[in-house]
Symmetry: C2
Subunit: 213 residues, 2 copies
Protein backbone atom coordinates (compact mmCIF):
# COMPACT_ATOMS: atom_id res chain seq x y z
CA UNK A 1 0.00 0.00 0.00
CA UNK A 2 1.41 3.38 0.96
CA UNK A 3 3.60 2.34 3.84
CA UNK A 4 6.47 4.55 2.84
CA UNK A 5 4.31 7.63 2.41
CA UNK A 6 2.64 7.02 5.72
CA UNK A 7 5.92 7.47 7.55
CA UNK A 8 6.18 11.04 6.39
CA UNK A 9 2.82 12.18 7.78
CA UNK A 10 3.34 14.39 10.80
CA UNK A 11 1.01 14.61 13.78
CA UNK A 12 0.03 18.08 12.59
CA UNK A 13 -0.87 16.75 9.13
CA UNK A 14 -2.74 13.87 10.70
CA UNK A 15 -4.86 16.29 12.69
CA UNK A 16 -5.75 18.21 9.54
CA UNK A 17 -6.93 15.03 7.78
CA UNK A 18 -10.41 14.87 9.37
CA UNK A 19 -11.09 18.37 8.01
CA UNK A 20 -10.02 17.27 4.53
CA UNK A 21 -12.12 14.14 4.85
CA UNK A 22 -15.17 16.23 5.73
CA UNK A 23 -14.70 18.48 2.68
CA UNK A 24 -13.98 15.57 0.35
CA UNK A 25 -17.13 13.79 1.48
CA UNK A 26 -19.23 16.86 0.67
CA UNK A 27 -17.57 16.96 -2.77
CA UNK A 28 -18.21 13.27 -3.34
CA UNK A 29 -21.87 13.72 -2.43
CA UNK A 30 -22.00 16.48 -5.02
CA UNK A 31 -20.43 14.23 -7.67
CA UNK A 32 -17.19 16.22 -7.84
CA UNK A 33 -14.57 13.95 -9.46
CA UNK A 34 -11.29 15.80 -8.99
CA UNK A 35 -10.04 18.48 -6.66
CA UNK A 36 -6.98 20.70 -6.42
CA UNK A 37 -4.99 21.53 -3.31
CA UNK A 38 -5.61 25.31 -3.73
CA UNK A 39 -9.38 24.72 -3.77
CA UNK A 40 -9.31 22.81 -0.48
CA UNK A 41 -6.86 25.33 0.97
CA UNK A 42 -9.31 28.09 0.12
CA UNK A 43 -12.30 26.27 1.63
CA UNK A 44 -10.47 25.50 4.87
CA UNK A 45 -8.47 28.70 5.03
CA UNK A 46 -5.19 26.81 5.08
CA UNK A 47 -1.86 27.32 3.38
CA UNK A 48 -1.87 26.03 -0.21
CA UNK A 49 1.64 24.56 -0.04
CA UNK A 50 0.80 22.75 3.19
CA UNK A 51 -2.36 21.22 1.73
CA UNK A 52 -0.48 20.07 -1.37
CA UNK A 53 2.17 18.47 0.83
CA UNK A 54 -0.46 16.76 3.01
CA UNK A 55 -2.24 15.39 -0.06
CA UNK A 56 0.98 14.18 -1.66
CA UNK A 57 1.93 12.34 1.54
CA UNK A 58 -1.17 10.14 1.46
CA UNK A 59 -2.09 9.96 -2.24
CA UNK A 60 -1.24 6.58 -3.73
CA UNK A 61 -2.14 7.17 -7.37
CA UNK A 62 0.85 8.15 -9.43
CA UNK A 63 0.09 10.76 -12.05
CA UNK A 64 0.24 14.36 -13.06
CA UNK A 65 -0.65 16.59 -10.13
CA UNK A 66 -1.84 19.28 -12.56
CA UNK A 67 -4.97 17.35 -13.44
CA UNK A 68 -5.98 17.44 -9.79
CA UNK A 69 -6.48 14.71 -7.21
CA UNK A 70 -9.20 12.09 -7.63
CA UNK A 71 -11.68 12.80 -4.83
CA UNK A 72 -12.66 9.15 -4.24
CA UNK A 73 -9.05 7.97 -4.18
CA UNK A 74 -7.84 10.76 -1.90
CA UNK A 75 -10.75 10.20 0.48
CA UNK A 76 -10.07 6.47 0.61
CA UNK A 77 -6.36 7.03 1.26
CA UNK A 78 -7.08 9.44 4.10
CA UNK A 79 -9.72 7.28 5.75
CA UNK A 80 -7.38 4.33 5.61
CA UNK A 81 -4.51 6.36 7.06
CA UNK A 82 -6.75 7.58 9.85
CA UNK A 83 -7.71 4.02 10.68
CA UNK A 84 -11.37 4.93 10.39
CA UNK A 85 -13.82 2.06 10.51
CA UNK A 86 -11.37 -0.32 12.17
CA UNK A 87 -12.90 -1.31 15.47
CA UNK A 88 -10.71 -0.14 18.33
CA UNK A 89 -11.56 -1.18 21.86
CA UNK A 90 -10.79 1.19 24.71
CA UNK A 91 -11.33 1.71 28.41
CA UNK A 92 -12.26 5.00 30.03
CA UNK A 93 -11.33 6.33 33.45
CA UNK A 94 -14.20 8.25 34.96
CA UNK A 95 -17.97 8.02 34.77
CA UNK A 96 -18.96 11.67 35.01
CA UNK A 97 -20.27 14.06 32.38
CA UNK A 98 -17.08 14.13 30.31
CA UNK A 99 -16.79 10.33 30.28
CA UNK A 100 -20.44 10.10 29.28
CA UNK A 101 -19.92 12.71 26.55
CA UNK A 102 -17.12 10.59 25.06
CA UNK A 103 -18.96 7.27 25.47
CA UNK A 104 -22.07 8.62 23.77
CA UNK A 105 -20.24 10.58 21.03
CA UNK A 106 -21.76 9.32 17.79
CA UNK A 107 -18.85 10.57 15.67
CA UNK A 108 -16.32 8.51 17.62
CA UNK A 109 -18.58 5.47 17.56
CA UNK A 110 -18.92 5.89 13.81
CA UNK A 111 -15.12 5.87 13.51
CA UNK A 112 -14.88 2.53 15.29
CA UNK A 113 -14.27 3.45 18.95
CA UNK A 114 -15.75 0.83 21.28
CA UNK A 115 -15.47 1.60 24.96
CA UNK A 116 -15.70 -1.71 26.78
CA UNK A 117 -15.39 -0.61 30.41
CA UNK A 118 -15.34 2.47 32.62
CA UNK A 119 -13.46 2.82 35.89
CA UNK A 120 -14.26 4.94 38.90
CA UNK A 121 -13.93 4.99 42.67
CA UNK A 122 -15.95 2.08 43.99
CA UNK A 123 -18.49 3.93 46.11
CA UNK A 124 -20.52 0.91 47.06
CA UNK A 125 -20.92 -2.74 46.24
CA UNK A 126 -23.75 -2.26 43.78
CA UNK A 127 -22.83 -2.55 40.15
CA UNK A 128 -23.16 0.64 38.17
CA UNK A 129 -23.66 1.00 34.44
CA UNK A 130 -23.51 4.02 32.15
CA UNK A 131 -24.85 3.80 28.62
CA UNK A 132 -24.70 0.03 28.85
CA UNK A 133 -21.05 0.01 29.98
CA UNK A 134 -20.03 -1.47 33.33
CA UNK A 135 -18.31 0.87 35.77
CA UNK A 136 -15.60 -1.06 37.60
CA UNK A 137 -13.38 -0.07 40.49
CA UNK A 138 -10.00 1.50 39.69
CA UNK A 139 -7.89 -1.39 40.98
CA UNK A 140 -9.14 -3.59 38.13
CA UNK A 141 -7.67 -1.41 35.33
CA UNK A 142 -4.48 -3.28 34.46
CA UNK A 143 -5.96 -6.73 34.82
CA UNK A 144 -8.93 -6.05 32.57
CA UNK A 145 -6.87 -4.28 29.89
CA UNK A 146 -4.42 -7.16 29.75
CA UNK A 147 -7.10 -9.83 29.76
CA UNK A 148 -9.17 -8.14 27.04
CA UNK A 149 -6.14 -7.04 25.02
CA UNK A 150 -7.12 -3.36 25.09
CA UNK A 151 -4.65 -0.77 23.75
CA UNK A 152 -6.43 2.58 24.13
CA UNK A 153 -7.05 4.24 27.49
CA UNK A 154 -8.98 7.47 28.02
CA UNK A 155 -8.48 9.45 31.24
CA UNK A 156 -11.64 11.54 31.39
CA UNK A 157 -11.75 12.73 34.98
CA UNK A 158 -9.31 14.98 36.80
CA UNK A 159 -10.50 13.78 40.18
CA UNK A 160 -8.03 10.90 40.17
CA UNK A 161 -4.28 10.82 40.51
CA UNK A 162 -3.67 10.88 36.78
CA UNK A 163 -0.12 9.51 36.94
CA UNK A 164 -1.20 6.53 39.06
CA UNK A 165 -4.05 5.74 36.69
CA UNK A 166 -1.69 6.18 33.73
CA UNK A 167 0.80 3.70 35.23
CA UNK A 168 -1.98 1.16 35.67
CA UNK A 169 -2.99 1.60 32.02
CA UNK A 170 0.60 1.16 30.82
CA UNK A 171 1.00 -1.90 33.03
CA UNK A 172 -2.12 -3.32 31.41
CA UNK A 173 -0.65 -3.00 27.92
CA UNK A 174 -2.19 0.32 26.84
CA UNK A 175 -0.06 2.14 24.24
CA UNK A 176 -2.35 5.06 23.27
CA UNK A 177 -3.56 7.36 26.06
CA UNK A 178 -6.09 10.16 25.60
CA UNK A 179 -5.51 12.47 28.55
CA UNK A 180 -8.22 14.99 29.48
CA UNK A 181 -6.53 15.99 32.74
CA UNK A 182 -4.09 18.82 33.26
CA UNK A 183 -1.39 16.41 34.42
CA UNK A 184 1.79 15.99 32.45
CA UNK A 185 2.02 12.21 32.22
CA UNK A 186 5.30 10.36 32.27
CA UNK A 187 5.21 7.25 30.05
CA UNK A 188 7.61 4.83 28.33
CA UNK A 189 8.71 5.83 24.84
CA UNK A 190 6.47 3.38 23.02
CA UNK A 191 3.34 4.94 24.58
CA UNK A 192 1.63 7.88 22.84
CA UNK A 193 -0.17 10.44 25.00
CA UNK A 194 -2.63 12.80 23.33
CA UNK A 195 -3.36 15.65 25.72
CA UNK A 196 -6.67 17.47 25.73
CA UNK A 197 -5.97 20.31 28.11
CA UNK A 198 -9.08 22.45 28.58
CA UNK A 199 -7.18 24.85 30.82
CA UNK A 200 -4.63 25.53 28.07
CA UNK A 201 -7.40 26.04 25.52
CA UNK A 202 -9.18 28.42 27.85
CA UNK A 203 -5.95 30.42 28.12
CA UNK A 204 -5.97 30.92 24.35
CA UNK A 205 -9.53 32.27 24.51
CA UNK A 206 -8.97 34.64 27.42
CA UNK A 207 -5.67 35.85 26.00
CA UNK A 208 -7.51 36.85 22.84
CA UNK A 209 -10.02 38.80 24.96
CA UNK A 210 -7.24 40.55 26.87
CA UNK A 211 -5.62 41.71 23.65
CA UNK A 212 -8.82 42.74 21.89
CA UNK A 213 -11.23 44.22 24.40
CA UNK B 1 3.88 45.94 32.88
CA UNK B 2 5.17 43.47 30.34
CA UNK B 3 3.14 44.55 27.35
CA UNK B 4 6.00 44.31 24.93
CA UNK B 5 7.02 40.84 26.04
CA UNK B 6 3.47 39.64 25.86
CA UNK B 7 3.32 40.29 22.14
CA UNK B 8 6.01 37.71 21.51
CA UNK B 9 4.23 34.82 23.23
CA UNK B 10 3.00 32.35 20.63
CA UNK B 11 -0.15 30.24 20.89
CA UNK B 12 2.09 27.20 21.37
CA UNK B 13 3.93 28.88 24.26
CA UNK B 14 0.63 29.99 25.75
CA UNK B 15 -0.60 26.43 25.77
CA UNK B 16 2.53 25.27 27.60
CA UNK B 17 2.03 27.89 30.34
CA UNK B 18 -0.57 25.96 32.37
CA UNK B 19 1.91 23.08 32.66
CA UNK B 20 4.60 25.47 33.91
CA UNK B 21 2.11 27.04 36.32
CA UNK B 22 1.29 23.62 37.74
CA UNK B 23 4.97 22.79 38.33
CA UNK B 24 5.75 26.22 39.76
CA UNK B 25 2.86 25.93 42.22
CA UNK B 26 4.19 22.61 43.47
CA UNK B 27 7.63 24.24 43.91
CA UNK B 28 6.13 27.21 45.72
CA UNK B 29 4.29 24.88 48.09
CA UNK B 30 7.63 23.22 48.77
CA UNK B 31 9.29 26.57 49.52
CA UNK B 32 11.52 26.46 46.44
CA UNK B 33 12.73 30.02 45.77
CA UNK B 34 14.38 29.87 42.38
CA UNK B 35 14.20 27.55 39.41
CA UNK B 36 16.15 27.04 36.21
CA UNK B 37 14.74 26.41 32.75
CA UNK B 38 16.61 23.08 32.44
CA UNK B 39 15.01 21.82 35.66
CA UNK B 40 11.48 22.55 34.42
CA UNK B 41 12.38 21.17 30.99
CA UNK B 42 13.47 17.94 32.65
CA UNK B 43 10.32 17.66 34.78
CA UNK B 44 8.00 18.25 31.83
CA UNK B 45 10.10 16.43 29.27
CA UNK B 46 10.34 19.55 27.10
CA UNK B 47 13.16 21.12 25.15
CA UNK B 48 15.45 23.23 27.36
CA UNK B 49 15.90 26.04 24.86
CA UNK B 50 12.15 26.26 24.35
CA UNK B 51 11.48 26.50 28.08
CA UNK B 52 14.13 29.21 28.50
CA UNK B 53 12.55 31.15 25.64
CA UNK B 54 9.04 30.76 27.10
CA UNK B 55 10.24 31.95 30.52
CA UNK B 56 12.11 34.91 29.06
CA UNK B 57 9.02 36.00 27.14
CA UNK B 58 6.94 36.44 30.30
CA UNK B 59 9.50 37.18 33.03
CA UNK B 60 9.47 40.82 34.04
CA UNK B 61 12.35 40.92 36.51
CA UNK B 62 15.55 42.06 34.91
CA UNK B 63 18.57 40.21 36.17
CA UNK B 64 21.15 37.56 35.56
CA UNK B 65 19.51 34.44 34.15
CA UNK B 66 22.31 32.32 35.60
CA UNK B 67 20.98 32.71 39.13
CA UNK B 68 17.70 31.18 37.99
CA UNK B 69 14.17 32.52 37.86
CA UNK B 70 12.31 33.58 40.99
CA UNK B 71 9.49 31.06 41.37
CA UNK B 72 6.95 33.50 42.84
CA UNK B 73 7.64 36.16 40.21
CA UNK B 74 7.55 33.75 37.29
CA UNK B 75 4.32 32.21 38.56
CA UNK B 76 2.72 35.61 38.98
CA UNK B 77 3.78 36.68 35.47
CA UNK B 78 2.34 33.54 33.92
CA UNK B 79 -0.92 33.67 35.80
CA UNK B 80 -1.38 37.27 34.79
CA UNK B 81 -0.58 36.50 31.15
CA UNK B 82 -3.07 33.64 31.17
CA UNK B 83 -5.75 35.94 32.49
CA UNK B 84 -6.41 33.57 35.36
CA UNK B 85 -8.71 34.82 38.07
CA UNK B 86 -10.28 37.46 35.86
CA UNK B 87 -13.97 36.67 35.68
CA UNK B 88 -14.94 35.93 32.08
CA UNK B 89 -18.58 35.42 31.23
CA UNK B 90 -19.50 33.01 28.48
CA UNK B 91 -22.45 31.30 26.84
CA UNK B 92 -22.56 27.66 25.82
CA UNK B 93 -24.37 26.02 22.93
CA UNK B 94 -25.72 22.63 23.91
CA UNK B 95 -27.03 21.13 27.13
CA UNK B 96 -25.87 17.54 26.78
CA UNK B 97 -23.09 15.66 28.54
CA UNK B 98 -20.24 17.66 27.02
CA UNK B 99 -21.88 21.00 27.87
CA UNK B 100 -22.48 19.77 31.40
CA UNK B 101 -18.88 18.58 31.67
CA UNK B 102 -17.67 22.07 30.77
CA UNK B 103 -20.21 23.88 32.96
CA UNK B 104 -19.31 21.77 35.98
CA UNK B 105 -15.53 21.74 35.37
CA UNK B 106 -14.03 22.98 38.64
CA UNK B 107 -10.68 23.89 37.04
CA UNK B 108 -12.33 26.23 34.55
CA UNK B 109 -14.50 27.74 37.28
CA UNK B 110 -11.40 28.27 39.35
CA UNK B 111 -9.80 30.16 36.46
CA UNK B 112 -12.72 32.57 36.28
CA UNK B 113 -15.02 31.07 33.64
CA UNK B 114 -18.66 31.92 34.34
CA UNK B 115 -21.19 30.39 32.00
CA UNK B 116 -24.29 32.57 32.17
CA UNK B 117 -26.61 30.78 29.72
CA UNK B 118 -26.93 27.61 27.67
CA UNK B 119 -28.75 27.29 24.35
CA UNK B 120 -30.46 24.31 22.83
CA UNK B 121 -33.38 23.37 20.61
CA UNK B 122 -36.54 24.48 22.38
CA UNK B 123 -38.26 21.16 22.85
CA UNK B 124 -41.17 22.49 24.82
CA UNK B 125 -42.41 25.56 26.61
CA UNK B 126 -41.17 24.53 30.03
CA UNK B 127 -38.05 26.23 31.23
CA UNK B 128 -35.09 23.96 31.61
CA UNK B 129 -32.05 24.45 33.84
CA UNK B 130 -28.75 22.62 34.06
CA UNK B 131 -26.48 23.17 37.04
CA UNK B 132 -28.40 26.33 37.84
CA UNK B 133 -28.00 27.73 34.34
CA UNK B 134 -31.03 28.52 32.19
CA UNK B 135 -31.29 26.69 28.87
CA UNK B 136 -32.70 29.06 26.26
CA UNK B 137 -33.77 28.47 22.69
CA UNK B 138 -31.18 28.95 19.94
CA UNK B 139 -32.82 32.01 18.37
CA UNK B 140 -31.99 34.06 21.48
CA UNK B 141 -28.19 33.70 21.15
CA UNK B 142 -27.20 36.99 19.52
CA UNK B 143 -29.65 39.10 21.50
CA UNK B 144 -28.57 37.76 24.88
CA UNK B 145 -24.84 37.99 24.11
CA UNK B 146 -25.19 41.59 23.00
CA UNK B 147 -27.42 42.56 25.90
CA UNK B 148 -25.18 40.95 28.53
CA UNK B 149 -21.95 42.00 26.83
CA UNK B 150 -20.62 38.44 26.56
CA UNK B 151 -17.46 37.80 24.55
CA UNK B 152 -16.83 34.04 24.85
CA UNK B 153 -19.00 31.42 23.15
CA UNK B 154 -18.60 27.65 23.53
CA UNK B 155 -20.10 25.34 20.90
CA UNK B 156 -20.38 22.07 22.78
CA UNK B 157 -22.76 20.02 20.68
CA UNK B 158 -22.30 18.76 17.14
CA UNK B 159 -26.02 18.26 16.69
CA UNK B 160 -26.46 21.85 15.50
CA UNK B 161 -25.43 23.56 12.31
CA UNK B 162 -22.17 24.85 13.74
CA UNK B 163 -21.65 27.62 11.18
CA UNK B 164 -25.14 29.02 11.76
CA UNK B 165 -24.63 29.02 15.52
CA UNK B 166 -21.19 30.57 15.04
CA UNK B 167 -22.66 33.38 12.92
CA UNK B 168 -25.21 34.10 15.65
CA UNK B 169 -22.42 34.28 18.24
CA UNK B 170 -20.36 36.66 16.09
CA UNK B 171 -23.45 38.79 15.45
CA UNK B 172 -23.93 38.98 19.23
CA UNK B 173 -20.42 40.36 19.78
CA UNK B 174 -18.55 37.16 20.66
CA UNK B 175 -14.83 37.35 19.77
CA UNK B 176 -13.51 34.09 21.32
CA UNK B 177 -15.13 30.84 20.21
CA UNK B 178 -14.36 27.44 21.71
CA UNK B 179 -15.44 24.94 19.06
CA UNK B 180 -15.98 21.31 20.08
CA UNK B 181 -17.54 20.35 16.75
CA UNK B 182 -15.74 18.97 13.71
CA UNK B 183 -16.85 21.92 11.61
CA UNK B 184 -14.29 24.30 10.18
CA UNK B 185 -15.81 27.65 11.15
CA UNK B 186 -15.54 30.71 8.99
CA UNK B 187 -15.23 33.90 11.07
CA UNK B 188 -14.12 37.54 10.70
CA UNK B 189 -10.42 38.17 11.33
CA UNK B 190 -10.92 39.69 14.79
CA UNK B 191 -12.57 36.49 16.07
CA UNK B 192 -10.40 33.71 17.54
CA UNK B 193 -11.60 30.14 17.17
CA UNK B 194 -10.04 27.46 19.36
CA UNK B 195 -10.89 24.06 17.91
CA UNK B 196 -11.22 20.99 20.09
CA UNK B 197 -11.60 18.28 17.47
CA UNK B 198 -12.07 14.90 19.17
CA UNK B 199 -12.08 13.15 15.80
CA UNK B 200 -8.64 14.52 14.96
CA UNK B 201 -7.32 13.51 18.39
CA UNK B 202 -8.74 10.04 17.96
CA UNK B 203 -6.86 9.80 14.65
CA UNK B 204 -3.58 10.40 16.50
CA UNK B 205 -4.36 7.56 18.91
CA UNK B 206 -5.41 5.03 16.28
CA UNK B 207 -2.50 5.94 14.02
CA UNK B 208 -0.14 5.11 16.87
CA UNK B 209 -1.84 1.72 17.27
CA UNK B 210 -1.58 1.01 13.55
CA UNK B 211 2.15 1.69 13.59
CA UNK B 212 2.91 -0.19 16.80
CA UNK B 213 0.70 -3.25 17.02
Amino acid sequence: MYECNQQTVTIQALQRMPYYVQQLRIMQENMVQTVSAPRIAELLNLNEVQVRKDFAAVYTTKGKPKTGFLVAELLHNMEELLGYYNINEAVIIGSGYLAQAIISDERLKGLGLRIVAAFDFSLDETEKEIHGIKVLSLDKISNLCRRMNIHIGIIADSGFQAQVVCDQLVAGGIISIWNFTEAHLSVPEYVKVKDENFTASYAVLTNHLKKNL
